[in-house]
Structures are given as C-alpha cells and as structure tokens.
Symmetry: C2
Subunit: 488 residues, 2 copies
C-alpha cells in the first residue's frame, strides 16, 4: 500500500520525484540483485498492454515471433568487430554450469544479433527463403554501473526484431518501416510525441550501417531514446556467413535489420505524463481504466452502495460499444479506509478515471467522474455513463498527446543560437536544432563541455523551415541540421 507522504515536487528535484513515483505507484521495486528491478503488477500491466499493441502491429506488417537462447558463446560476440567492442565490456558471463567450469564461457545475451544470424545462416539457402521477418520478446542483460528503475537496469525486457533481406533497399525500407511503427505506437498509445531521425556515426548501434531512433522529450527537457531501428547492412551476414543463392544463381550475403523497444518506455511514460500527485497513465495503456469508489457513512448504506457499485461495474464491463475490448473497471471494496485515502492511492497509481458513488448519487441516478490528468469533476447520469466514460477516456488520451506536444514545441529551440545560449538551454532543458559541420570532434567537444549529444539528424518533417547554414560551434558551413539535447 502506498504511504501518504507527498512526492518531492518535479520542480524541486525531478530525479527524486521520478524515483519516488516509480516506487510509490508500485510500478517497480529494487531487488536484492544490484541493478536488477522487480516489475510490479501495476507496471507490468502497462508492459502487457504495450506488448499486445506492438505485437499486433508487428504481425500486421508480416512478422512472426520466435525464441532464441539466452546464452551466447563468447566467441560469437567476437565475430563482428564493432559489435564486440560495443557490447563485450558490459556483459554478464556464465563460467560454471552443473557444478563444473565451462570450456567456453557463455555470455548472457545483451542483444541477439550474433546467435540469430548464425541460425538464419542455417535456414537460408535461396532467395526464395527471404525475407525472414522475425521478432522475439525476451530479457537481456547489460552490466550497467549506474542504474535507474526502468531507464537503465542491468536486466530489462524488450522485443528485438531481426530480419534478413535480399537487397540493401529492402532492408533499408524495413528499418524505416519499423521506425514508423514505433512512432505510431509512441504517439498513438503512449501519447508521447517523438522526433525521428538518423543517429550520427558515433551514436549508432555497434555493428550497424545506419541507426534510426525515436527521441522523446521528458518534462525536464531531457531526451529519452525510446526506440531504435538499425540497417545492419551486410556486417553480420559476413561475420556469420548468412548467404543465399540469388535468382540469377550468384551467391550473395544477406542484408539485415534489427529494431527494439524495451521496458524503458515505461520510464518515458512516467516522465512524459506523471505529475506531482503521481503517475498518469494514458487510458489505452492503463491496466485499470476506471476505478469505482463506493462511499458510505452509515453502516446501513454500505450494502446498498456496494451492490450498486458492483452492478455498475458489471454494466460497464459488458457495455456493448466496447466489444470485444471490455472496459477495464475495478471496484475498491476495501473497508477501514476513507474515500480520501483511496482517491489518493489511485491517483498515485495513475488510474485515468475515478468514479465516486454514494447513497445520494444512487438516489438521484448519477455519479461523479474525475479525470486523473486535469482532476476535472463532472456529474454524469447513470443512464449515459458508458458513453461519458468512453468519451472522457478518448478525450484524455488526445489531451495527453497535445499537452506533451505543446511542451515539446515550447522547449525546442531553432534559428540562430550561439554556443553560449546553447549551454544555457542545456542547463534549463530542451532540444536545440542547430547546424553541424559533420565533424565527430565537434560532437565530442560539445558532449565534453555540455553533456549534450546529437540525438538525431532529424527526418525531413522535423527540420526547420529555414535550415541552419552554419555550424553552431565552429561557424563553418553546416553539413546537417541536428537535434542536440542532454539525454537519459
């Protein structure tokens, strides 16, 4: 049960607010294993809804699910040169099994390119076997020294898509398509607007030809990389001899893509919509959409109110406009707890709508509906409650996206910005769209001096109407417009 101490306000200490909220809303908890989290039912329920929505989108674009081993022979990680450099330092290694030392240590997968493409190599002979459009839902482990619940944990849950194609262009189209799927999901389901674009050479995935990303702005103006999609080129195909006979009879290496999103998105949800009272879950992802709080003072009212609440729950769940996705309704029947304490707890946990129902409401065939985000109250007739709830939920989903989009726009800076002004913005939080001469040294210098990184070279629709012509740092001609921000 949540205790009723107030959360540290966001304005006071955003980071403390985040940590307290995640615990208090019972989204996750620390475990006895350093850096590994426990995802509690209130957090896991969000993840389940994320999984279901994404899985449907993956299948609608022709992908199938499969499962590959948790362990990877250490030698496999070494077969792609950049890949091992990127991942080997942060792996967990199994050296003993069944009481004996292993001949070859096994790495707990930090990502599965190596094991998956070695299997693809076994299954693919001809162009007729392509494309392979696979996805797996799995846990992965990266040995992080500084961890934070959801945002950076040693073990996390994710999906990793892995595909093989006959041509570069097909792989490129796939990587782009999946970036679009992620964006649709983040905006449509998470109510979290993102900027999409390409990563610079120094920020791309270890082993990729090109990495694309969705970057979201948190309420403190920092960026969260919420999903990535990689065109891997033929790097892994060459390392694992993933080859096929083409239609004209030649032997070619395949072209791969991989793409992933993780439980990190739940952290993004918190920092996009949460407020000083706790979690705010977008209705589409909420494990419970509506909580009914029966209110009574006199003992003789209790039975009547309970019964009315239960009948209402039944009616709402079976409400025909929500077939087959039933309204997710919970009645809080706990005794020995004031209505106020219950309001507080459900607010902290982020349930989108609260429905207050007392004897007087029942007598007048109405109840009070309270929105979590605006805390606006409306009295609604029990005759039209289904419609009212449905409309309010839809409105809330849309409003959350608008509010987040407005905030992102307000904290995005374009046009001529000096490097000094840039530093001020980075301290306050925000995205800066600026010119860059394309030199990795400049990128490294800015990171060193300001902790900001190039989040993406933004896709066309996000670029400024007046493209910057000069590099913000050197004044040299700009090669790209890029988005700078500090990031989680």
């Amino acid at each position: 049960m949540a205790d009723d101490k107030k959360l540290t306000p966001r304005a006071t200490d955003f980071s403390a607010w985040y940590n307290e909220l995640v615990l208090r809303a019972e989204l996750a908890d620390y475990s006895p294993v350093r850096g590994c989290m426990v995802i509690r039912p209130n957090g896991y329920g969000i993840w389940e809804r994320m999984q279901r929505a994404l899985d449907d989108m993956f299948k609608a674009t022709g992908h199938v699910n499969a499962y590959f081993p948790l362990f990877i022979p250490e030698s496999y990680l070494h077969k792609e040169a950049q890949h091992v450099e990127g991942f080997a330092p942060e792996t967990a290694v199994v050296t003993h099994g069944g009481g004996k030392q292993l001949e070859e240590p096994l790495v707990v997968r930090p990502t599965s390119e190596t094991i998956i493409y070695s299997m693809f190599a076994k299954w693919v002979q001809s162009y007729r076997d392509l494309p392979l459009l696979y996805n797996q839902w799995a846990n992965v482990v990266r040995w992080e020294m500084r961890t934070r619940l959801f945002l950076r944990t040693m073990e996390f849950l994710w999906q990793e898509g892995h595909t093989a194609h006959a041509t570069h262009d097909e792989a490129e189209a796939e990587a782009r398509q999946m970036l679009g799927v992620y964006r649709d999901f983040m905006e449509g389901w998470m109510a979290m607007p993102v900027v999409t674009g390409q990563k610079t050479e120094s920020e791309k995935f270890a082993g990729a030809l090109r990495t694309y990303a969705c970057e979201a702005m948190m309420q403190d103006g920092k960026a969260l990389q919420a999903g990535t999609s990689h065109n891997l080129g033929q790097n892994f195909a060459k390392a694992f001899e993933l080859k096929f006979q083409s239609e004209s009879g030649t032997i070619e290496h395949a072209w791969n893509t991989s793409w992933g999103v993780s439980t990190r998105m739940i952290g993004g949800l918190v920092m996009t919509h949460g407020d000083d009272n706790g979690m705010v879950t977008p209705p589409l992802l909420a494990p419970i959409e509506v909580v009914i709080i029966p209110i009574w003072r006199k003992d003789e009212d209790r039975a009547q109110v309970f019964e009315a609440a239960d009948r209402l729950r039944g009616r709402l769940r079976d409400w025909e406009r929500r077939e087959p996705a039933r309204l997710r309704v919970h009645v809080d029947l706990r005794e020995g707890m004031t209505p106020g304490a219950k309001y507080y707890e459900w607010e902290t946990r982020g349930v989108p709508l609260r429905l207050e129902l007392g004897p007087r409401d029942i007598a007048s065939n109405q109840c009070v509906l309270v929105r979590r985000d605006t805390r606006a109250k409306q009295t609604v007739s029990l005759d039209t409650i289904g419609e009212d709830i449905e409309e309010t939920l839809e409105k809330m989903q849309t409003d959350l996206l608008s509010a987040a989009r407005d905030r992102m726009d307000k904290n995005s800076y374009r046009g001529d910005i000096t490097y000094d002004r840039f530093k001020e913005i980075m301290d306050a939080g925000g995205f800066v769209y600026a010119g860059w001469n394309g030199d990795p040294k400049v990128e490294a210098q800015v990171k060193e001096e300001t902790k900001a990184t190039i989040r993406v070279i933004p896709d066309e629709e996000f670029r400024s109407a007046d493209a910057p012509t000069r590099c913000m740092v050197t004044g040299e001609p700009a090669k790209h417009e890029v988005v700078w921000a500090r990031a989680y």
Copy 2:
C-alpha cells in the same frame, strides 16, 4: 523448407520419430549452445496460443502478472535446505560481470521461489495485504546433461505462479485450483487427457509440503509430467521471513503455493497427436487453422485461381461467426512447387485443415477440404464453407481428445497385476494402477529394477472401482493406490 524424406515411423523408433518430427515440422532447432533450443515460428506460434489461453484463465481466477530478476544471489538458494539440495547441482552461475569478478556469484534462476518470496516479505505487513496471487512468464535455466528438444532443455520458457495466503487451507485450495486449471487447459485446448494426483515424498518439489501433478500418456505408453502445483507450506515463508500481522494481532508466517507449466507441453502435444506424416496440431492451438492451396496447370488459370483463393481467405477471416477470434487462414501462393509438395509440407507442419481450390472447383462453386488427423476429404460448397470449416475444426478438436483418451484407457492396467506382469507392461508402455505399501524403499527398488516411477497417488475420480488391497511388490497391505509408469 521441409525436405521430403519420410519420417522414421513411430513403430520403428519412437524416439527418432520425435526428434525428426520436431525438426522437420520446424517447431524447434538445435542452437550453437549445447542443450539450448531455438523455438521456430511454427512452434512459437503454438506457445503463444498456449500462453494466451492460460493467461486468460489465470486472470479469470484473480491472478496478476509481474516480473522478477533473472539472477538470484547464490546465498538465497541456500536459505531453504531441501530447495538448495534439489536445485544447486543444476544451476548456471554468473561469476563475472562488466569485466570483473563478482563478490557473490549469481545463479541464473532455475525457478523463482527464493527471489519472489524475499520480495513478498518486503510488501506484506498485514493480513489485509493477503492473498498475493502472482504469476510470471519467464525463461529459466537448469543445467541438464541429456537434453531433448522441448522435453528437457537447459533453458526453457514457462510460467510460474507464486501466491501467499494467511492460512494453510487457503494455500491448499489454491494449489488444488491451479491443478484444475492446468487439467482444463490440457484437456480443453491441448486435447490431451491427464491423470491428476499427488506426488510421493520422493518425487515432490524440492521445498514443498505437497506436490500435485498432471500426468499425460504419450503414444509410446510413457508418462509426461505436464504441469505441477505445489503447496509450499511455510517452508519458504520461514526461510525468507515472509510474515504478517493476523486479524487478531499475532505475527504469523504466510503460506505459499507455486505452480508451473512450460514449453515442455509442446513436446507433449507432438507425442500425443503426431503421426507418421508429421505434426497434428489441435485446432485451438494451431497458428494456422486452414491452409488454402490454389491449384492450376495452365498459366492462364493462375490469376483466376489466385484471385479466388485470396477472396476466399478474406471471406473466411471476416466470417462473422468467428468474431472476434478471426479464422487463422493462410494461402500458399508459392510458385515452382507442386500441389503435392505443398500438401506434404503443410501436413508435416500439422495444420488442421487443408483446402484445395482449382479452376474446376471455382466453376462449380466448391472446394475440397482435407482433415489433417483422419486425412478424410469432403467436397463442400463455397456458400457454406465457413460453417463447414468451423464444424470440422470443432469435430477435430473433440475427436483428438477422444482418441487420446481411448488410447490412455486401453493402455492403463488395473486389478491384480503381478510384479512380473508389471515389468512386461513397463517394457511395452502403459500406466499400471497398483497397491503400494507406502514405503520409499519399495519405490526406489521398482525404479532401479524397471525404470518406472510412481507418477501420482491418483485423485479420487481416477482410482479403481475396486481399490487394490495389497502392495504389488511386497504383498503387504496397500497404503495407497498409485499410478506407475516410465516417464519422460
């Protein structure tokens, strides 16, 4: 693509048949890591349907999902004496992380009682916090020396339910309830009849008070333990100080249950329904229920047949009697492959229904429907095809269960059976219901001499009308009627 060599017949070598079938039907494959399997899309699709059905059943009985860490501190495993004895010898151990040796090695979870009940101890204070009804879907690792795809692999996928209750009786009722859920799932969805009952002391889960199990009979007469449910008593609650204040104010240890089923069930499905032509998937679990094979000879027919097949697929998928669970239909449009080769491949993969559609069929508004299990053909009108498919799928689901039940009955032996006759039956395959004096030494002797074990002390409905009065081995008075079999 499946090659077209015939499978080794079951009668010749059941074990070879199984291994070949799993590979040929593309259910799973060997991985580069000894003992770890790759679950291919055709197998994983079955697992996804199993997960969905079970998850719905768990939620309908009040359970919620959560996620606990993959790694368990080695010391945790040691806190419950029987538990460590059972599991420590078969663990994989992480000794290095982030390039450094760990102070305390981490065990890759073989099962999660220890880590979960240590968290429960943190969350539970009062009887008001009970019961906790949790489930997690996860991978686990047990260091097996002799592995077989699905049946015994180093890593496997499963669900593990973990609950905490205020009383022994509540925990007992929960353990029993979940055994019933498993049985309903195995019979209702897998079309696999089971015998339920209690495990003997020597066969129970390491750390449990009592273990209940579902035992199924495979086509070779051997038993498969398909699911277990444990009343853990207060063993783990005492080891992890999982305590609560009771209504009367005393401090009590909680009572736990745990229960699990795994990807092993897919092996059970193969050995229950598979035949010499390959996999036979019960319709309710089939990723594809109906495959449409367009047939054409002349090039000018092709477009017409493709178009008709595609229209038919659309009509079947949208067929209103199957709202919201769409008929799962696939059209095999591959070129350069004969219809016969396609029939062969889809039979191997276990798709329940095949629909053959050629120019003459289209002209006469009909098609040919072929059942995978009986290979019976029927010509059906395209006007009633939805109903015909639905009825045939339902009939096939029922028939598969009846056939398996008949086989189990036929190979179950009751009444006076001498120990010599028993040995013959064990060699031929089957379940023997016999009296047992309750002595673990007799159990060990029989296992040593015949490789048979007591699968369960059967629940009442499975017991013989005339209960055996004598121990089959010693002739002493029987304490229980028990089910003997060799097992996977």
